[in-house]
Symmetry: C2
Subunit: 336 residues, 2 copies
DNA sequence: CTGAAAGCGCTTACAG
DNA sequence: CTGAAAGCGCTTACAG
């Protein structure tokens, strides 16, 4: 009972015009009013819609953007995905999604498949690109923007928050709050976000004549971060911990409260990074740096589409500033 | 500096064979060993990969599955998306993603766009299909499976958990725990999951000679659910609330604890539905019905691919049973 | 097994 | 403005 696929030829026959005329009407080229009407009516009656894939063969534009993403369990990413999808949809693009673990072999396979689909551009969220992959994308003329991840390579665009500055704000806030034994559970060392936040944090502490009493790599993983926090309790006994993202911070708070029976922030202050929706939930009430997901998405889409429209546009490195969101998980400075 | 697109013709020239030969090698048709080697070598040297979109024009298979999803803030869906993407990727398919609000006009637009991309199949997660849309997909010969949503229409496949049975288990558990003033904050009435869970819950309570002291529509929204819970406290004073999904249950727990200073489960028992990862976090420790996301995804992919392979395969309605996960948010029966 | 040719559903110069 | 024709990058009968 499957109707045979209806094509522009069918519409042309029904409308009594040439196939080219039908094409012109749907591709927005010039056509007389009467032609447009005849074609639209016939198309409507037949339920015709142009085949985007056939069109892409000629125009060289698939209207598909490949999105590579690794961590969907960190709410920051589903949220970004939703925004990205909506913003791109408005511009007539759609997202072909690829899950990649952080491993580079995985990213390699995925980018290969992406190219098979003739995507017009690639967005990688929380994933880096090897030099080899970067070369392939450049050779294929496909713009790439790294979302929430930085890389030195000048051929790649990137949109991040200002991680260094953000971490400095956190350090300043903790010091102003009178903390003296400050520890850090960092984001994954293999990620630019993890490294930059750590560097900014250490730098700012140094300007106050302090250094972290301990630093551990939380690897953006709940269990690893929670274990690290418990370990720190036994050894350096921090009065505050800056955790490299909210996703880990929730695990740290849970461990501190439920395994170590500590009160937050009375016994220890916790600060996260991202400001995912959950950070505002009463159970966590997490003080954290906001990564302005909406503005990051805007910048990402804008940069990518600009490069798609004109391949000669230079790749951009954009870092967006965000505010420190002060809630109840960290002791506040006296004057607040 | 963009290399011109390299095609099967280029590979053919370099390998010293015909273009058809190149095509055969990559489409898995028969070819002699020497031809295969020559072609593979030439392709490797040139970095050639077949254009999936051009191929689709002839085979009629785009290897693209359209996924329509509404709620990415409920962790159940990002989780399912990840599993779906991986399972489909293994079968050589990829996901083109579409965000739709629950509104039907939105779904309509989205399905139109989906058809433009010649998707081989459609999965809708937490979204229903109008009769009109169902017709269009059927006319286009595109199989649809509803993920975590049911619909009477026999032309549509669906994969859900056994919502009715699940809700009954919850009712039985609460009654066995000695609760007598049991309320329900349901999932959105416009959704099959919301309605079925409510019906199952009421039915099971009735077998114990009870009926809910109150029922409110939580609309799968945190704020609505939290308000409803607070309202119930003032009026019917329930000793237990079954909340229609975990996402709302967290909001209810937060409101009960932080706005009403209640202890859970001492003052009131809360049970959710889904068993998202967060339900296991110590802050919530939520007793809930598990929706076996892995098995639901398996069934979804299997059903969809079977229908793609053979359009005459009848649509399936699959309901998968899950266990009640007993944690600490609801008072347990004496004998546990 | 292999090559020449037709054709998938479109867009886009090219004449008229 | 409009139609006939070429061509996008493939696959697939069809001969050989």
């Amino acid at each position: 009972m499957v109707k045979p696929k209806i094509t522009s030829l069918d519409v042309a026959a029904k409308a009594g015009v040439s196939q080219s005329a039908v094409s012109r009407v749907f591709s927005g080229a010039s056509a007389s009013k009467t032609t447009v009407k005849k074609v639209r009516d016939a198309a409507e009656a037949l339920g015709y819609r142009p085949n985007v894939l056939a069109r892409s063969l000629i125009t060289g534009q698939s209207k598909i953007i490949g999105l590579v993403v690794a961590y969907l369990d960190n709410q920051f990413y589903p949220d970004a995905l939703e925004r990205l999808s909506n913003a791109l949809q408005e511009q007539g693009y759609h997202i072909l999604i690829f899950m990649a673990s952080g491993q580079s072999t995985d990213v390699e396979r995925v980018v290969g498949e992406l190219l098979d689909y003739q995507v017009d551009g690639i967005i990688t969220a929380s994933v880096g690109m090897s030099d080899e992959l970067t070369k392939r994308c450049e050779a294929a003329g496909i713009p790439v923007v790294l979302f929430n991840r930085g890389q030195a390579d000048t051929r790649l665009s990137q949109v991040t928050s200002d991680n260094h500055a953000g971490a400095r704000k956190i350090a300043d806030f903790l010091v102003a709050g009178g903390h003296t034994r400050i520890a850090h559970i960092s984001g994954w060392e293999g990620s630019s976000t993890g490294r930059e936040r750590r560097a900014g944090f250490i730098d700012a502490l140094a300007t106050h004549g302090l250094e972290p009493v301990a630093i551990a790599d939380g690897k953006y993983t709940r269990d690893v971060a929670a274990q690290a926090a418990l370990e720190m309790l036994k050894t350096v006994k921090p009065d505050a911990i800056f955790v490299g993202n909210d996703h880990m911070a929730f695990a740290v708070i849970d461990a501190l409260r439920h395994s170590a029976q500590l009160n937050i922030p009375e016994d220890i202050s916790i600060i996260g990074y991202d400001d995912v929706p959950m950070a505002a939930w009463p159970s966590y009430d997490l003080t954290t740096m906001r990564q302005p997901s909406n503005r990051m998405v805007e910048a990402t889409v804008e940069t990518l589409l600009a490069q798609i429209a004109d391949r000669s546009v230079a790749p951009q490195k954009i870092a967006i500033d965000g505010p420190l969101i002060v809630r109840g998980s960290a002791r506040k400075p006296k004057d607040m």
